[in-house]
Symmetry: C2
Subunit: 183 residues, 2 copies
Amino acid sequence: MNTTERVLDAAEYRMRRGGYNAVSFRDLANDTGIKSSSVHYHFPHKEDLGVALVERYAQRFFDVLENASRKAETPKQKIQAFRSVYRMALSDDDAICLCGLLGAEMAGLPGKLVTAVQSFFDANVKWVEQALPETLSKSDRRKWSTSMVATHQGAMMLATSMGDTKLFDTITKHMVDLSTGQG
Amino acid sequence: MNTTERVLDAAEYRMRRGGYNAVSFRDLANDTGIKSSSVHYHFPHKEDLGVALVERYAQRFFDVLENASRKAETPKQKIQAFRSVYRMALSDDDAICLCGLLGAEMAGLPGKLVTAVQSFFDANVKWVEQALPETLSKSDRRKWSTSMVATHQGAMMLATSMGDTKLFDTITKHMVDLSTGQG
DNA sequence: GTCTATAATTTGATAGAC
DNA sequence: GTCTATCAAATTATAGAC
């Protein structure tokens, strides 16, 4: 794998655990086996690194989501695909969503990062909206899609905080059940 | 007001915006009009400061919640009181919940802070559980209470990230409606 | 309780050689 | 692309005077 990607891997690991300010060029250098000045070659400023990281994260997220929902035909199946992608992000990496963490730190982040995180959430909400039954009103779709994103993000945070991954399962299943009329 | 409280005020303001690592002794000293060594007199280590801050935050939160739910008789009224306390924390201070932010950074926080944040969430979940109708099964009460906390935390984060406080209102009203059979 | 002074470490960042 | 060398600033923290 090329160095830029390896730096991003190290940065993602650290940032999804401690946040933006918990990542330093020196840590990334040690993680990657190069010097901090070489990390600066790939990402001159920390803000650049953050933006590249969020963009890669978003790209991957929607790639996986696209794939997971490929065979989904009903709204219910699509929502379940959405849930499964969040679930994988949580248990595969044993960390919360990068944008969930950065979203919490939003007021302390550099401008370009704020925009990138907002784009992720915007696309998230739009995706769920599009997946919901067309029979619902526009405003009902908004209500459900924003609630769905908020609940999934909150569930990740709460489950990780309490050290109980099952909490994520309980909460998000409940939400999906409610949205598909099983609650 | 005494200096310890003024330091905590400054710390809360900063930490609820940028997170644990966005707060420095020197910033707090400047905010409070004393020197950083004097801040250390009140809180020898940063971890102490963080714990004291979370404990004060939790105390105030439940004091306000107690007061807001004092006249509430029905489960619905109690849940609405819960929602209103989160809403006030968001709009009065124009920041998300201290523990919501620290919960997101959990994996990067010192041990005593982790415990303090967990206690806050634990008490949150228990409070909602206790407020729900006794007619519900124990497991249903758990499902609803954890979902309620997750959704409120997620809604705060999402609303702040998108710069749209109304998003919090829409999402949490939807959730409360669902829980009280209005959805 | 607050100050001055200071230490040890970390941080984001740059210049210039190879 | 990576290195050595270096920097200025910031960070947590302590010693000791007042």
